[in-house]
Assembly symmetry: C2
Homo-oligomer: 226 residues x 2
DNA sequence: ACCCGACAGTACCGATCGGTACTGTGACAG
DNA sequence: CTGTCACAGTACCGATCGGTACTGTCGGGT
């Protein structure tokens, strides 16, 4: 298997995949041809088809990599917060992402719409949502939430809804709306005993806040965080 | 203008538009050719291009008509409820719609994704969301809500989010989740004085309900209510 | 020196795309 | 009977699609 030293064994592959990701996100899978991808990437179609036997494989690789990148970015940049901020930091980060110039929807949701019948793409998208649940449930733990699973499902609706609404409305208002709704749900979902009062009060206070106080990282690129 | 008696002046147009709506929704705008639309509709391309000078016009007409149909259906079937049910009935109806076999996302959101650059399609989609706000704000009036506009924006996120999540997950759970979240937001958004306690208590009770008690209408077709 | 794999470039394939043009036909009006 | 109209059917256009095949070239390993 080892071929000695490969100077840039798959730099070409990465270049092609990056180009495809960008073009697919910008104009849609069906509106971009493999010729254009290869030409824009400065690669030959032979190279493209060596690494991606079919156009679909390019789409799958793009969505899979995108999902990895988004969740690594989300996880990395919301791990340090404490209390209700642990959850709301996720919404701050997403709001920041949605405000990126050139943002027009979650690449994974768009990809599912573009390739309606592909079960593998559908599986990637399902796994993507599942990762959101995992993240949210983790961030909800220890907050005295009655039913973290149910709440995380509701928060996911806010995330996906905000992504869609931001894209259609062309403004970023929906990001802040989602954060406010998340704070309200968080407050009303905290148990009525123990530390919950602190959480509830804190969340209630958070709900009135306008914008994220700090910008923890460089916002993700249109296609996702780098 | 009047041409005497037209036996079926635009029955052909309607047949073409219906066929296009169905095919576009099923497989996406780019995956369906005008040849197939004409053939499936039992029409000639000449007829198709007489009523729709370009494929884009077909898409625009489809989305515009779809938006009209959906909102007429939503308005008609949620007008009679009273109290917090006025709002939650919207979610019941939507949940019912999402559970339709063959449902895979809002046709308008899908259409925006399919035709990313078309500003006219984008305008139709914005108007579609605006209609949701109008509906929700009306249904929220008289419930003692502090900020109906802000709450209606949050509820819209739940609606669009549920549509996306239902489509990706392949189950209808997200519809019920959206309803539960809406009830929670409704409860926590009711003012602390006046009739609000009734609303709040009622909403709290509603939040524990499992499914819609009554199916007021025939559910909409995959592409929307008939 | 030799070879070999990775590569860009290009020509090409059949199929299909959106859109146009031209038939033939059947229904109705005069 | 003879217009005229809407219509279905079909042939056709240039362009582009996804995918294949074949060049020539460069660089590094032996």
């Amino acid at each position: 298997m080892a071929k000695g030293v490969l100077p840039n064994p798959s730099a070409t592959r990465a270049r092609i995949l990056d180009t495809a990701t960008s073009l697919f996100y910008e104009r849609g899978v069906h509106a971009v041809g493999v010729n254009e991808i290869a030409a824009t990437a400065g690669a030959s179609k032979l190279s493209l088809y060596r690494y991606f036997p079919a156009k679909t494989d390019l789409v799958r690789a793009m969505l899979s990599e995108h999902s990895d990148r988004i969740h690594a970015w989300l996880d990395r940049n919301t791990a340090s917060a404490t209390g209700p901020d642990r959850v709301l930091a996720v919404f701050d980060l997403l709001t920041q992402w949605f405000a990126q110039p050139g943002y027009h929807g979650c690449a994974i949701v768009n990809g599912v719409t573009d390739t309606r019948a592909d079960p593998e793409v559908a599986a990637i998208a399902r796994a993507h949502l599942h990762r959101y649940h995992t993240l949210l449930e983790d961030r909800l733990s220890g907050l005295g939430i009655e039913d973290p699973r149910a709440l995380s499902r509701q928060l996911l609706l806010l995330i996906e809804g905000a992504s869609v609404v931001v894209t259609i409305e062309g403004t970023t208002d929906a990001g802040a709306d989602a954060r406010a709704a998340a704070a309200a749900l968080l407050a009303s979902s905290a148990k009525a005993a123990g530390t919950c009062e602190i959480v509830r009060e804190s969340a209630r206070h958070e709900a009135t806040r306008q914008v994220a106080p700090h910008l923890p990282t460089q916002p993700p690129s249109p296609a996702g965080p780098r």
